[in-house]
Structure formats: structure tokens, C-alpha cells
């Protein structure tokens, strides 16, 4: 297990992410809705999602098919990298408000 931890630390140390030229997409969470709710993204490349929480309460941007879960504090913006994705639809939701849902449409 120590080896695993060490490996993790090493990976963390050497692989600082820098993807200046990745396509960026902004999603805003407001009044318990994602805008846009259907987000077109290019398939086959890494995509940078900027998720802004324009609500007064905390939200958790989550997706089972994309393996992402990240808290977005009120007024805050998080960066989430996804992909390269196969073409298709990937659902995401606010884990603190289950009815709030949207999709990434990879084409």
C-alpha cells in the first residue's frame, strides 16, 4: 500500500495538468436548472467544463457515466475535465438536488 501511495504522490508531482487549448464549455446552475441543460461537446477530445453555481446553496456536480463528482460552492465555478468521449449522451445532475439534470451530447 505504501508503494501505491508513493506512486500516487509521484504521479501527482509530475503530471500537473495544463490544457490551455482544450475546448471549454460553460454550464450555469441557476434556480435548480442547468443552462444549457443539453450541452453539445466535441467527441474524441478532452473538454474543459466550467460549471458555475449561481445559487445561494451548495451544489454537487455529479455524473455516473462520466465518473465525476465535485462540490460547487454558492457563486463559485469549478473546472471539470471530461473525455475524450465516445459519441453519445452523458447525463449529469446536482447530487444535492436530484431533479436537476442535464446531458452532455458528444458528437
Amino acid at each position: 500500500m505504501h508503494r501505491l501511495v508513493l506512486a500516487t504522490v509521484l504521479i501527482v508531482a509530475v503530471a500537473a495538468p495544463a490544457f490551455a487549448d482544450d475546448p471549454a464549455v460553460t454550464i450555469t446552475l441557476k434556480d435548480h436548472q442547468f443552462a444549457p441543460a443539453d450541452v453539445p461537446v466535441p467527441a474524441g477530445v478532452k473538454v474543459k467544463l466550467l460549471v458555475t453555481n449561481a445559487q445561494q446553496e451548495n451544489a454537487e456536480f455529479e455524473s455516473s457515466s462520466l465518473h465525476r463528482e465535485k462540490i460547487v460552492s454558492p457563486g463559485g465555478t469549478i473546472t471539470v475535465y471530461v473525455g475524450p468521449l465516445d459519441p453519445g449522451s452523458y447525463e449529469f445532475f446536482d447530487d444535492f438536488h436530484n431533479a436537476t439534470r442535464g446531458h452532455l451530447i458528444a458528437k
Binding site: 500516487t8 454558492p74 463559485g76 473546472t79
Partner: protein
């Protein structure tokens, strides 16, 4: 009130199941109640601290602080559970014998209960901080008033604790001589599941490749968000759509901890005496 209860229940559930298993795994151990409740208390305090500094943590490491923090907690918990399991594979049999004879294992002062307590603290911290953030958010938004929040939170907490208690009582109904074998397996699977969750966070931080986004999809059978899916997620690391890297971490954890358990366990079987431990220390 109901949505609050559901979300609090969901977060408490994972920590409560871990506490239930740890309590069963440490059955008969001296002062385990103190260790475990100390772990829970430390976890609750830590959760409030993490929630308080959530924005700072999130902004760290170029916005990937949350992922690294979660991954670090998960891998630390894996290490703690693994360490205890490996220790137990060496000394478990004598403990079981002495527990049956003496009713407790005062002899086992060297047993790393601190590792279990630490794992409990980490589990409570991780799930608890989400509860604090969620409740703080709805308190600010003023949804339904404080009464609905307290009632909902209380119901969720009670149900989660009930689930942890249920798994504890289920496990301790197993005869003592089999209990350690069963709990060792449970702890091993638990650790593998936590490692796979940790891998997902490192993948999210873009530090590990996905190695296949979704190896398979069993969400039509059992979704991650169903109650059974969540319970299995905690107990054995079930994920309806696992990424390749998660499977790699899962299997590696099983092999490393399981292999070490077997390695140190067979020494004893071969008739080799375990290394001398300090005699009964009066403090423990």
C-alpha cells in the same frame, strides 16, 4: 424535509456501514468502543473543518484540490484498513481463542485499533463534510425553515445509524471462530472499493488515464443511485459503469492486501511463532 432526510441518510449510510463493519471486526477487543467513538468524534469535527474550508480546498492545486483531498482521504483509509487486516491475519486466531476463553483480549494490547479508529474518522469526515455543506446551503437558502431541516436531518441520521447497527448485529450473530474470517473479507472488499473511488478522483483530476471510460454498464440491473446500489457501492465498491483505472486499483488493492495477509498468515500456520509482543501492559 423529505429531500433533506434522503440526502443525509445517503451520506450517513456509507459511514455507518463502515463503522458497523469495524465494530464487528473488532469484537472483543479491549476499549474498541472508545477507539471507534473517538474516531467518529474526530471525523465529525474534521467534517466541520473541511466544510468551513471547502472553498480553500477546492481552489488549491489549480482547482483540483477537492479531488486530491478526497483521493488522499480514501487512500489513507485503504492503508489503515489494510494494515489492520494484515496484522489480524497474523494474530487473529490467537485473539479469537483468547476472546472465547477470557471474554476479552487484554493480551492484544498491540492490536492496531488506532488504524480502525483512523479509518472510521476518515469515513465520517468525508461523508460528514458533504452533509454540513448541504445543510448549510439549505439553511442559507431558507428552504422550509429550520424545523424541517432539523427533522429531516434527524430522520436521515437515525435511518443511517439503524443501517449500520443492523449490519453490526447481523455480523456478530456469526460464531466467533468464523467472525474474523468474515470481517477480514468484508474489510478487504471495503478497502478495494475505497481504492477504486480514490482512483476515480485522480482520474477526475486528470492525473490518471481512464483506461476505458465505461468498461461495462449494469445500471439497468442495479443503478448507482438506488439504495441497494449505494449499499453495495460501500460494501464491495460496486459501480454500474466502472472506468478501467478503477478496476485496476480495485484488483491491485485486493491482491496487495490479500497477498500480504496470506504471506504473514502462513508463517504462523507453518508453526513459526509470531514475533514476541510486549506482555500485558496495564494501561491497555
Amino acid at each position: 424535509m423529505l429531500p433533506t432526510a434522503i440526502i443525509v441518510f445517503r451520506e450517513v449510510l456509507e459511514a455507518a456501514l463502515i463503522v458497523g463493519i469495524v465494530m464487528a471486526a473488532s469484537r472483543g477487543a479491549f476499549r474498541r468502543g472508545l477507539w471507534v467513538s473517538g474516531g467518529i468524534a474526530a471525523g465529525v469535527l474534521g467534517a466541520c473543518g473541511v466544510a468551513l474550508f471547502a472553498a480553500t480546498i477546492a481552489a488549491a492545486a489549480e482547482g483540483m484540490g477537492q479531488e486530491l483531498f478526497d483521493a488522499a482521504i480514501l487512500f489513507a483509509a485503504v492503508g489503515m484498513l489494510g494494515w489492520h487486516n494484515i496484522w489480524m491475519s497474523r494474530h487473529g486466531r490467537e485473539l479469537a481463542a483468547s476472546a472465547v476463553q477470557l471474554g476479552n483480549d487484554v493480551r492484544s494490547g498491540a492490536r492496531p485499533l488506532w488504524a480502525l479508529a483512523f479509518a472510521v474518522a476518515l469515513a465520517v469526515l468525508r461523508e460528514g463534510s458533504e452533509i454540513v455543506l448541504f445543510l448549510y446551503g439549505i439553511a442559507l437558502a431558507g428552504q422550509g425553515g429550520p424545523w424541517a431541516m432539523v427533522t429531516g436531518g434527524g430522520i436521515g441520521l437515525a435511518l443511517g445509524v439503524a443501517a449500520g447497527t443492523a449490519i453490526y448485529w447481523g455480523l456478530v450473530s456469526i460464531p466467533m471462530r468464523l467472525l474474523f474470517t468474515v470481517t477480514s473479507w468484508l474489510v478487504l472488499l471495503l478497502a478495494a472499493g475505497l481504492a477504486s473511488q480514490g482512483a476515480a478522483f485522480l482520474m477526475q483530476a486528470d492525473l490518471l488515464p481512464a483506461l476505458g471510460y465505461n468498461l461495462w454498464d449494469t445500471s439497468f440491473l442495479l443503478s448507482d443511485t438506488s439504495l441497494a446500489g449505494r449499499i453495495l457501492h460501500t460494501l464491495i465498491g460496486y459501480t454500474a459503469q466502472p472506468a478501467g483505472i478503477q478496476l485496476v486499483f480495485y484488483v491491485t488493492t485486493l491482491l496487495v492486501i490479500g497477498g500480504l495477509m496470506r504471506l504473514v498468515g502462513t508463517g504462523e500456520k507453518a508453526g513459526e511463532k509470531p514475533p514476541a509482543r510486549p506482555a500485558v501492559s496495564p494501561a491497555e
